[in-house]
Amino acid sequence: MSLKIVVLAKQVPDTRNVGKDAMKADGTINRAALPAIFNPEDLNALEQALRLKDAHPGSTVTILTMGPSRAADIIREGLFRGADGGYLLTDRAFAGADTLATSYALATAIKKIKDYDLIIGGRQAIDGDTAQVGPQVAEKLGLTQVTYAEEILKVEEGKITVKRRIDGGVEVVEAPMPIVITVNGSAAACRPRNARLLQKYKRALTPTERVSSGSDYASLYEQKDYLNLVEWSVADVNGDLSQCGLAGSPTKVKTVENIVFQAKESKTITASDAEIEALVVELLANHTIG
């Protein structure tokens, strides 16, 4: 069966190579010193998507990303590796989003995309490290979710079999599609950019980028539709402004502290309401949250 796959991907500052000048004097990120890159675990997710496409001819892989105009780079990076197209969610109203507002925006875009079998993204982004966006998107769309995926083993008759990396081992699960999967960094690395695809797509631009790029090769955009990348605003995805960007973000950062992990043991609880409630009570009591 051919599959329609949406890859959630984020452009992030490269926090893995933080040098002396990564922070400006006022404590904000010096973006010039930290190049913007494809979030590493999103690349692992893209590789899983591309492998499914290889195994299921006729499948399509579409990149969905939210960010400023330059985040169109993420779509091009996807195209250079074998994706078929992409959407850039970009609007001033999306700015300042926390995970709730981000997952809202992505979910509205996915509703607009409408036809999909699999939504796949990285476990978490290296700038926020929350691992919340994937699961929240699944909840908002009412879809099954599988997290910490390491490898998609097979897709058959509307069911997907996934190997998960869990505490102390691996677990193989089967789930119905459509589904949201988040991929762990231990999954296979993404394939490199391909020279032929790079030459095909190197001039693919969003309408905003085309305004600033001037009129070079203008006729190509008439002849080759795949060079026109799609930009969506809040209005394009019928978004509710109060749920987007800063307005839709209840998260407020009060302080940031350095922490050192000291606990050596982990605790496993089941998914029952009683155990989850007990954990929440415990965390509130010892002021870990709240």
Partner: protein, 569 residues
């Protein structure tokens, strides 16, 4: 993020800054005729150069992220023979998978066969970068060169059956050497017998020292004419591993390039097909193949020189003795600047030669489609001759420089460099083969000497002298002009007795002087355009050239034929 292409700005200079490049690209692209047929074909010259540049960024990224980190493991693990076939080291498997996924196989092949249709310059630049990451992997990856020979001399049917497979990642080998046929390929014995019944040839015998001998597709030199003893009885064949008949008897245990399997092959009735015409195997096809391969080894040498320089510079900056980084000591920066000058000089002649090859090969290919104009024929002839003259200079000197740089790299590391803990020991071992295979340095001298004695090199030097240079480079150019006078006098002195033994005895010295003066001119030209990249090397290399020329002239001018007796054994 490290990127071996972007971190080496000299590469982009050689890709973009030479006036001949525009001609190279327009010929290779047939004036951009593919642009409406293939979605990845360039629109114009700038677009093509931009595509090469971006593709080389991919090469640089893969080399920095995958191939270089795998190099040590591959060197230790090496390939194995399992049931008559080669099993690569795990890092080699990953390297091949990655370069194939990136579309870096069959780079110079036409698009209709699935290639990128890149000229030799960007292809050989990729080889330069791959070699800096892991010279041993270059041997496997770089054998895609053989596709050039298959394309040039195979028929349409063979091209369309084999070349798309190479572009999809199947590897190649060139099966030439035998136990009794090394430098002297005329004595190849592998027997090719024609079978009237099925129209195929069958190969029987043994080949030795075959790089990547378990490749998917082999070009094989074999004796098709029974009863003959010389090169005129040899033909070139294509052997497809899928047909079976060749087994790997053993893999050599080598000093360096250990990731590259060097195989002894046994042919037992191996089915093969003739490529090109009978009897032209050695005298035409293999000679063409070897010229391409020699350019590849020059690139490998330059990559090794680059790796040696990078390792040495980084160590010299980190290592402190007597309270200072050792790079600050004259004894050390003398070595480092000489390494850099030799690196820049060999790279300059590599890309100069590659441009010559590009122009004549593209014109030769156009000649298969239509008749060339008289101007085009003259152009092809001139660049073909220059390519033939420059190829052995680049291979000969480039490989010697790679060895010298690898030696100095260890020297700068001191005692640590002698330990297996540092990359420089692998570079040193890998460098050693470059001045031996595809024709030893001594054989490069044999190939080059006629261009020294018939003054082809001198004429080219005179053309370089007439070229514009920047104000800052004028002093160096004057030095080079005066060196050419001494060089010409030395040639005349060697030639005056018309004694062949004397000429052969001095051939190395004459060829070295030719190479030094030519490379110094190239650096002066490059430094005129990009002083920030090459001015230091132009100065260092010109002074080195002056000292070498003086040394050789001193020797030649004071020599009389009777002194040969002291050297004969």
């Amino acid at each position: 993020m490290a990127n071996l292409y972007k971190d080496t700005p000299a590469l982009k200079f050689h890709l973009t800054s030479h006036p001949l490049m525009e001609r190279v690209v327009e010929l290779k692209e047939r004036f951009y005729a593919d642009k409406d047929t293939y979605d990845y074909a360039p629109q114009d010259y700038q677009d093509a150069i931009d595509s090469y540049d971006k593709t080389l960024e991919i090469v640089g990224e893969i080399c920095s992220d995958v191939i270089a980190p795998n190099a040590e493991g591959v060197d230790h693990e090496g390939p194995k023979v399992v049931n008559g076939t080669v099993q690569y080291a795990s890092g080699t498997v990953e390297n091949l998978r990655t370069t194939t996924q990136a579309g870096l196989m069959g780079m110079s092949m036409p698009r209709r066969y699935g290639g990128l249709n890149f000229p030799i310059v960007p292809y050989i630049m990729a080889a330069d970068i791959v070699s800096a990451a892991d010279a041993g992997f270059e041997n496997i990856w770089g054998l895609q060169d053989c596709a050039e020979t298959l394309y040039e001399f195979g028929n349409d049917d063979q091209r369309s059956r084999f070349i798309p497979r190479i572009c999809k990642g199947e590897t190649m080998s060139m099966d030439l050497t035998e136990p009794d046929a090394g430098s002297d390929l005329q004595s190849v014995q592998l027997k090719a017998t024609y079978n009237e019944a099925d129209g195929y040839w069958y190969l029987n015998g043994v080949k030795r020292f075959i790089t990547n001998g378990d490749a998917h597709i082999h070009l094989v030199l074999a004796r098709s004419e029974e009863g003959t003893k010389d090169g005129r009885g040899l033909s070139m064949f294509i052997y497809d591993r899928n047909d079976g008949g060749v087994t790997v008897r053993r893999i050599e245990n080598k000093l360096g390039i250990k990731g590259s399997p060097t195989c002894e092959l046994v042919y037992k009735n191996a089915k093969a097909e003739l490529c090109g015409e009978r009897k032209l195997g050695l005298i035409k096809y293999i000679m063409a193949l070897m010229n391409g391969a020699r350019l590849g080894i020059t690139a490998q040498s330059v990559g090794i020189s680059q790796a040696a320089y990078n390792e040495a510079l980084s160590y010299a900056r980190d290592r402190k003795q007597f309270g200072r980084a050792i790079v600050e000591f004259p004894a050390v920066y003398d070595m480092l600047s000489s390494m850099k000058a030799k690196l820049d000089a060999s790279r300059a002649i590599l890309y100069e030669t590659a441009r010559y090859v590009d122009i004549y090969k593209a014109l030769d290919d156009i000649a298969r489609e239509r008749k060339l104009t008289p101007e085009e024929r003259a152009e092809a002839k001139m660049y073909s001759r220059l390519a033939d003259a420059f190829t052995p200079l680049g291979k000969g000197m480039g490989s010697e420089f790679a060895n010298q740089n690898a030696y100095d790299c260890i020297q700068i590391h001191g005692g640590s460099g002698f330990m297996k803990d540092y990359t420089c020991e692998r570079i040193y071992r890998d460098a050693r083969i470059t001045s031996i295979y595809e024709g030893t340095t001594q054989l490069q001298v044999v190939a080059a000497i006629r261009y020294a004695t018939n003054k082809t090199y001198l004429n080219r030097i005179r053309e370089f002298e007439a070229m514009e240079c920047s104000e800052d480079m004028k002093g160096l150019k004057e030095t080079l002009v005066s060196l050419a006078v001494k060089y010409e006098a030395a040639i005349d002195k060697v030639m005056e007795g018309k004694d062949n033994e004397v000429i052969e005895f001095f051939a190395r010295r004459l060829v070295e002087m030719s190479a030094y003066i030519i490379m110094a001119h190239l650096l002066v030209r490059d430094a005129s355009l990009a002083p920030e990249l090459f001015a230091q090397s132009a100065g260092v290399f010109t002074r080195y050239t002056a000292a070498e020329v003086a040394k050789h002239c001193e020797f030649i001018n004071n020599f009389t034929a009777d002194m040969l007796a002291d050297y004969r054994k």
